[in-house]
């Protein structure tokens, strides 16, 4: 029997919950504490937990390195692109009110904030994963009795 059986079962139960909580923190950031930064860290911690328990190679199969690189750049581009979109619609840079015609409820602000925070989430998640992959990939394998 695998000595880490309990950890594996509980981790399989918890990792989806952690990711869902991360997304809740992101999309509920308008109403409660949280936002893209915290959400990115939480989602990254779910993948790191997976990597700690099932090994770095399985984590790299789930979240490949090319995807990490893509997300890191995509987040910054999404943030900047939202600003450019407000430019093209005739407002100041990152002035979200023009994104939606419903000015009485400020729907444009909501859309803009969610988009911008999505960019932050993607970049933070990717950078945390990149740092972890870079460090953990170089660490030598520790014999079981070493700890």
């Amino acid at each position: 029997m695998n000595p880490h059986l309990v950890l594996r079962v509980v981790a399989k139960l918890l990792i989806p919950l952690i990711v869902v909580f991360g997304l809740y923190v992101h999309f509920h950031g308008d109403y409660s504490p949280g936002g893209g930064f915290q959400a990115g860290v939480i989602v990254a911690s779910a993948v790191i937990l997976y990597s700690l328990i099932f090994g770095l190679d399985s984590a790299k199969r789930a979240v490949p390195t090319w995807f990490v690189k893509f997300l890191a750049a995509f987040g910054v581009l999404l943030y900047g692109g939202t600003g450019v979109a407000t430019w093209l619609l005739g407002a100041n840079y990152l002035d979200y009110d023009v994104l939606h015609p419903d000015l009485s409820h400020h729907t444009g602000q909501h859309i803009g904030i969610i988009l911008v925070e999505l960019g932050v989430l993607s970049t933070v998640f990717a950078v945390m994963m990149a740092i972890f992959y870079a460090f953990a990939g170089r660490a030598p394998d520790i014999p079981e009795g070493e700890w």
Partner: protein, 186 residues
């Protein structure tokens, strides 16, 4: 003036922060030091909650206590488990720097506003303006999100670029593939 009993909680948390900080400095075992840094972050998160700064506390708990502990452990595996003892001469230089900085900080305490002062700079100029105009201009219940993502969108963009640059630096210096696969390729 009535005595506010909840401030005792703040003092207790600050005393624990001080104790943990001294323990981190004194410890030679890097594993224990990394763990205590996680404890330090968690304590400061509790302190931020007690100061009603829940957004900051959330970030501190997720980043400081959660992910940076794991990243520090991963970094520690690449180095030794124990720190080398520092030479005594270096201790004196550090003591001088720390004493001067500490004296300067104590000198500056006199200019700090009292805790909860309604006329302090943070509460009087632009901060109040954000709080009063967020419901009309942004219509988002969480003022912190409104300030971070809308009013101060440029600053947050800058932060995102800084994080991206940090990740880029790590990717360029260390690479994402790791050592083992490179050796296999050879």
């Amino acid at each position: 003036m009535e005595f506010d009993w909840t401030q005792l909680l703040d003092y207790a948390l600050m005393a624990m922060l001080l104790a943990v900080g001294i323990a981190i400095v004194r410890l030679r075992n890097l594993f224990a030091a990394v763990m205590l840094m996680g404890v330090y972050s968690l304590l400061s998160a509790a302190w931020f909650v007690s100061l009603d700064a829940v957004d900051v506390a959330f970030t501190e708990a997720a980043v400081g206590a959660g992910i940076s502990t794991v990243l520090m452990l991963a970094a520690m595996l690449l180095t030794a488990r124990e720190a080398e003892p520092v030479k005594a001469a270096r201790h004196w230089a550090a003591l001088v720097v720390v004493s001067v900085a500490g004296a300067a900080l104590f000198y500056a305490v006199g200019d700090m506003p009292v805790y909860g002062d309604p006329n302090s700079p943070a509460n009087s100029y632009v901060g109040m303006d954000y709080i009063t105009s967020t419901p009309n201009e942004i219509a988002v219940p969480n003022v912190v999100t409104a300030v971070l993502a809308s009013y101060r969108g440029f600053d947050t963009f800058g932060e995102t670029v800084v994080i991206f640059a940090a990740g880029l630096g790590v990717m360029l210096l260390l690479g994402l593939r790791g050592l083992k696969k490179k050796e296999e390729q050879k």
